[in-house]
Symmetry: C2
Subunit: 241 residues, 2 copies
């Protein structure tokens, strides 16, 4: 049996009871070393298999092999396992197995929700989530989504905004969105949301600071009704008050 | 102090530790009666103010007034308070107060995440969330978002798909999406996700059954790469396997 466990943004308090229970009930814990380090106190008596970034396929194959041997395995994702996490890959690999393994997705709080809570209430209306990583998605697809999402006036949550290898992507993304997102649209930037070293910033779209952002940053761009009030972003739901 | 608490989809196991702690630490619990009934065992010793649907503004004003009197108040939302929940409204009302109240958003698992976990891994790539309720959003805005989101090939999560007063909206939404969503695109339907009476269905886009859906249903429509494997929907992230 394989449990795909989303541990939420990082601090214990944001985990679901189901995630804690699933980890407690497993024999083996498999995950990227950064996420493993966030739950070390929970897994002291467990077999732990941790590896590096970009070793996702190996990690999921190991989990399937262990499950075949009768082990209960927890594969750890940050946030929610079903949102840019490991759930899909395990299901994909399992389709190719003759001896299918049982898989259960354990729900967690994803980064957009965590960052939104820090920023006030920026995602109170229709929203979309876009990853700027073009490791596995052609950049022209990402550009098209940025353009159409802006035209649709969605609140836009940007995952994986900026790595060392692609420091210009975020600036390009803002140039595309600028066709429809006004200069004063609120933008929330949350680094390490829900972790010990969390930092948050609120700026206007035209004053976006790209240098603040890295791969551990969530960026939330408001819609036409969003506004800044003190140190919070509010996107009205539409109530007449 | 006002805690905007998202209790997740319903069952206790999907709540975050922070949500349970916030409720325990509050003097008064304010919420829509259906959500209050889901946490009754947690709030036995609390003052409880519950009211009907469409009384959201009253509910949030009551919370602000109680906070002014020095009470710790928890305002309960289903799912996450920041996603079509009560967080925005309390912040909006608080901007008009002379004596501003402190507000804290307590993160929860929203319905799209909960339904995705039931369906397998349908939201592994860029996605958007659209509410079909036109009580507070003009229908032409909703139509525009459905069209552009489909054109962008987002995985689309539909909130509030169908009420008695607007039984045709969902059918109209599917007609709009049909311009870009292929006939065989997987569609997941989860009623009462994460509650005792959960039901789930997976169909092809062309075989959508609108009668299955009500206001407690989450609908997830895949992207061009999504496929059905057994009783699960998988949206590939893009790994070469």
């Amino acid at each position: 049996m394989i449990y795909m466990v989303g541990i939420g943004p990082g601090k214990r308090e944001y985990m679901t009871l189901q995630a804690i229970e699933a980890i407690e009930n497993c024999d083996v814990i498999v995950g990227y070393k950064t996420y493993i380090s966030l739950i070390e106190d929970l897994i002291k008596d467990k077999e732990i298999i941790k590896n590096e970034m970009r070793q996702e396929i190996d990690r999921c194959r190991i989990a399937i092999d262990l499950s075949k041997k009768g082990k209960n395995v927890a594969v750890i994702s940050g946030g929610d396992s079903g949102i840019y996490g490991m759930a899909g890959l395990v299901y994909e690999l399992n389709t190719k197995e003759i001896e299918k393994q049982e898989i259960k997705v354990i729900q967690g709080v994803t980064s957009s929700i965590s960052a939104a809570a820090v920023l006030g209430a920026p995602i109170m209306h229709d929203m979309c989530q876009i990853s700027l990583s073009d490791l596995m998605t052609p950049w022209n697809v990402i550009e098209k989504r940025l353009k159409l999402a802006s035209e649709a006036d969605f609140v836009i949550c940007i995952y994986n905004p900026r790595s060392k290898g692609r420091s210009d992507h975020l600036k390009k993304a803002f140039e595309i969105m600028a066709e429809f997102k006004g200069a004063e649209t609120p933008v929330g930037i949350v680094k390490n949301s829900g972790r010990m070293n969390q930092e948050e910033y609120i700026v206007e779209f035209q004053k976006m600071n790209f240098e603040l952002c890295d791969m551990s940053t969530m960026i939330i761009i408001g819609n036409k009704e969003s506004y800044i009030d003190g140190n919070k972003i509010i996107t009205p739901r539409g109530y007449s008050i």
